[in-house]
Every structure is written in C-alpha cells, then in structure tokens.
Symmetry: C2
Subunit: 331 residues, 2 copies
C-alpha cells in the first residue's frame, strides 16, 4: 500500500513540493507514495490537481491528514498554528509532520504545545522562492540545491527526522539543521529585512506624484530590488508578527547603515573616497557570496537511503541502523 | 566611405552598443559604418575587439574621435567631462556626440560649456543594465525595448538629434526625450536610490558576526534585492556626486517610509491590519508596474528613416524633410 503524504496549503511552495514529489516518484519506482492535497481555497486545490502536483484533492482537512505517514503544512506562519490545532487529534500514531513557514521559533513552540507526543514534528524552511506566488507558478525544480532549514521538535524521533531529510533531498534540497531561534535571527537579516526594504521602496516611489513618469524609466534594477514586494501579503504580515524582535533589530541597524551612506553622499567630493571604499567593499562581498560560494556550504547530507525505502516496510524503525551502516556521501 | 562611429569607454554599455551596432549592420546593408573603440584600459579595448563589438581599436583617444560622424562616450559620469575636455578641439565640424552616463544635468552643463558650437550633443541614458559589469558581459540585445533617455544640448541641430534617435532605435531602444534636471529627479528614485539601498543591505548584513551562517541561508530574495551592489563602484560614486540633491531627498523619504513600517511592525497584532494594507498596496503597485505595463509607455518613435540612410549622403541635412514627410509609426 502506498504511503500517504498530505500537503496542506497549495501555493507556490506546497505546489512545488507536490510537483517535486511526483517527479521523484517517476524517477524512482520504489517511492510508493500517494500525494493528497488540501487548501482553504478549493480553486487552489483544483489547480494543483490539474497541474499534477497532487494525486487527489481532499476537500476536508481532517480527511487529508487521516492515516497520512507524512503531513506537510505549507501555509503562511500563523495558519500553521490553526492547522496544528485542527489536525492534532486526527494525526496517526507515528506520523511525521513538517512545515515550510518562514519563521521557526513560534512554530516549534506551537508544535511542542499542540501536537501529540507520538507525532514527530520537524519544522522546515526551504530557502527558495520566486517572484510570483501561487500554485500556478509552482516548479518541481524550485528546491534544487536550495538550503532547507530543519528544526526537530522536542518529541522528534531521529528515524523520522531522517525521513524529513530524505524528503528534502528527494526534491534536490540540502538539509540544514539549525536551532529555531538561531534560524529566525539569521533569516531576519537576509530574508525578512529585504522584504520590508523592497516594500518600502515600492511604497515610497509609487506614492510620488512623479511616479507616472518614473514608472516608464524604471528598469531591471528597480525590478530586481523590488521583487520581494510582489510576495504574498499575508505571508509577509505573518513573518513580521512572528519574527518581530530580530526584524526590528535589523531595521534599526539598516537605517544606521543607510544614514552612514547619506552622510558620505552629503559630503560630496570630501566623502567620495570613503564612499568609494564602501561601494568597493560591498561589491566584493556580494560577488564573493554570489559567485564564490563553495560547494558544501550546506551541511552534509545525513543519510543515503531513498525516501521510498524509508517510507516503506515497517515505517522508519529500521532506518537508524541503515544510516549508521551507510557511508556518508554528498548527494 | 563608411561613417565612423567612435565608442569611448568599452564596459558593459559601450560594449553592448558596439555589439548592437554590428548586429544592426549585419541586418541592414545600408548601414555603412566603421566602429572604432577606445578605452583607458587597453585590455578592455582588446576584449571588445575580440568579442566583435568594434571593428578597430584606437589606442589614442584623439585618433578615435578624429573625423568621427558620431562619438559615444560610455564612461562613468565624471569621466565624461574629462573626455569632453580632451576631444573638444579634435571633433569634426558637424559631429554628433552622445553619452550614456546615469545623470544628465551636470553632463549637459559640461557639454554646453566645453564642446564647440558646431557639434551636436545629445545626452543619453539607456535604462538597461545587468548584474555584472564589464565588456565581457556585453550583449547586443541589452537595449531591446529599453527606454533610452535623451537630452539635447543647447547647440543641438534637430536633424542630428534625429540621428541619435535612430541610433537608439537601431539597437532596439525607445527614445524618451526629457529635461536633464527632470531626468535626474526621476532616476534618483527608481535607479540611484536602489543602488544605495542594495549597497547598504550588503554592508549591514556582511558586517554581522553571523554572516558566516547567514550567507548559507541567503537565497534568491537576497540575491535580487542586493543585485545593484555588484555594479561598478566608480559608476556608483559618480552617480552620488552628480545627483546628490535628488538622491539625498529620496534617501530621507525612504527612511521615513521604513520608519513607518518599523512602527507598524513594533505594534505587533495591533499594527497588523495597517501593515497588511501596506503589503497589499505595494504588491498591487509593483505587479501593475511589472506586468500591467502598457505598450507605448515610452514616447513614440520620432522618425522612420534608417540610421544607415541618415549617416549616408550629405550627412543629415536631408533628414528633416524626410521626417516631416514620413508617417509616424511604432517600431
């Protein structure tokens, strides 16, 4: 019998996970899974089915997670809590639950409080995105080589944590285990601050009386710098609410940095040398990051048994042994 | 005899202009031009020749512009002035000079002061760019459908202004005539402010002790938001120096906007609704800009005689008549 994987929330991420799993199943016949999907909005679920991201739509949330070996909650952060509360009593003994929300400290706290002990929760956050949200932009390749943060809950069993690692790797992602509070601090600077910056840039420019003319001249630089302003508004609000402290800290530091640039620019020729040094430094730093990235910046893959093998048989309990026997190798 | 076009400064823009012109010449045999190139750094000129962006390298700046029908100064802003001073006495009577620098008010003032009256200067600014600078990233298609700002100087003859329009269109660009001060105000918000914002983001994040970890998690959102920090440092310094007033104004307004976001985020649940409204508004505004852009947002093409026809014959003087006769049509 096929193992059931339920995807709750069929947007860009949930849809891409579905497509990634169906692609993996095509490549690897041992991956005997049934992918069911549920979305608050029926049209999203229908679209996901039509796109081949899921095998079956479940209009009822509880029916979706009932007897599922794995549940993937791919909603904005605050909805993760609501979904957990609704599904807690229906989850199968031994089920593995993960999510894909952008912040992890609150999510892990909710999982620890709400989910039963006999369920393994591993919070997840794939570091991948696209300009446009929605299942219609889903892509089986979205997670290829993407770092995928993983935060096991307090009741997590190691063998099932390994299942989540394998789940990530089967879609091309690189598991990266991290403490949830550390995660939130790190992504506040490189992911959540940029969302606010891009939004403020669109906010300030489009409110200008000259926007009618400016919009004609705005080109690829503006397009790229503002890309994150096209993200899902609800997702962005939830991020701000659940990662408030670290994000506010980053906004303050950013304003300081911007004031520093302002000071140098205001000095004109006098500040030019210091300004040049800043532009040279950030060019080097960014190019080093973007082009000098070494292989293996992500953590090493934890195991090498296929997800199919993992989900098969007596569900997970033989795994730990396999893993200890297996040699580590880079995927 | 072929008309000589001299490109001074063979970086991404100068190189792309060269490639655009050679591609146009291949398509249109009536475009009888010789493209010579000069760069302060001999290796850039050699690369441009090797890439087929220019027909001939001129190691000497004055030899490059000598007897040229058209001179294109494609250097950072401040170097435009130095080049004008050096070439002023060598420019042919009736030559057309243009540039591609990011600010226009200072450039037009220099042209009016430095260049002889018998030369037509039309300041130019193609609204196109790429993540990586340098002639090695030059692309004949870089200007396809790009708005190309044009600011005729005080001594400009209309027939030669039309030559510059044709020059822009032959590379796929859309001429957009604008007052130089208006130009600088407009691009300060949608081009120069984003450069400073991207640089400050790289500056703040890479200086953090946790950058070693953050860099592993940074993904496409960070990549896009910081893209402009990988631009040419000298170009960026020159932009700040020559567009100081408008840029400082925009930085101040941006900080206000960011403070507004900060206030709402700090309010937590209380500010959530107002924050959601902001995210919804900027998503709509950006999507409208990025995807709802109507055809013809650029100004209508001014003429429809080919650049080859224009440069040929008795150099330009028959043009005005042709243009008055010709029907306007969209390219």
């Amino acid at each position: 019998m096929a193992d059931k994987i339920a995807i709750i929330g069929l947007g860009l991420i949930g849809g891409s996970i579905g497509l990634g799993l169906t692609a993996a199943r095509k490549r690897d016949k041992s991956l005997n899974i049934e992918i069911v999907g549920h979305d608050r909005l029926p049209e999203n679920a229908s679209k996901a089915k039509r796109l081949g991201a899921i095998d079956k739509v479940e209009w009822n949330l509880l029916a979706a997670v009932d007897r599922a070996a794995m549940v993937v909650i791919a909603t904005p952060v605050l909805a993760v809590r609501a979904v957990m509360e609704q599904i807690a009593d229906t989850l199968a003994n031994g089920a593995t639950v993960t999510d894909t929300a952008s912040t992890k400290a609150d999510v892990l706290q909710w999982a620890n409080e709400i989910l039963p002990d006999y369920v393994t929760f591993v919070g997840g956050h794939p570091m991948a995105g696209k300009e446009l949200p929605g299942v219609e932009n889903a892509d089986a390749e979205l997670f290829k080589d993407a770092v995928w943060c993983l935060c096991p809950g307090i009741h997590a069993e190691q063998s099932r944590v390994d299942v989540v690692s394998a789940f990530v790797e089967v879609m091309g992602g690189k598991p990266y285990f991290v403490d949830p509070h550390e995660h939130d601090g790190l992504v506040a600077g490189i992911s959540h601050l940029p969302i606010v910056l891009a939004s403020a840039l669109v906010g300030a420019t489009t409110a200008d009386p000259a926007w009618r003319e400016m919009r004609k001249l705005a080109a690829s630089g503006y397009r790229d710098t503002t890309r994150l302003a096209s993200g899902e508004p609800q997702m962005n609000v939830d991020i701000c609410l659940t990662n408030r402290g670290p994000l506010l800290g980053w906004i303050d530091r950013y304003i300081e940095e911007l004031q520093h640039y302002r000071t140098l620019i205001a000095q004109g020729q006098e500040g030019a040398e210091a300004l040049a040094k800043e532009f040279i430094r950030v060019q080097m730093e960014r190019d080093h990051w973007a082009y000098g990235k070494k292989d293996g910046d992500g953590q090493e893959p934890v195991q090498k048994i296929s997800l199919g093998q993992m989900l098969m048989g007596d569900r997970f309990n033989r795994l730990t042994e396999y893993i200890r026997q297996g040699e580590r190798k880079r995927s």
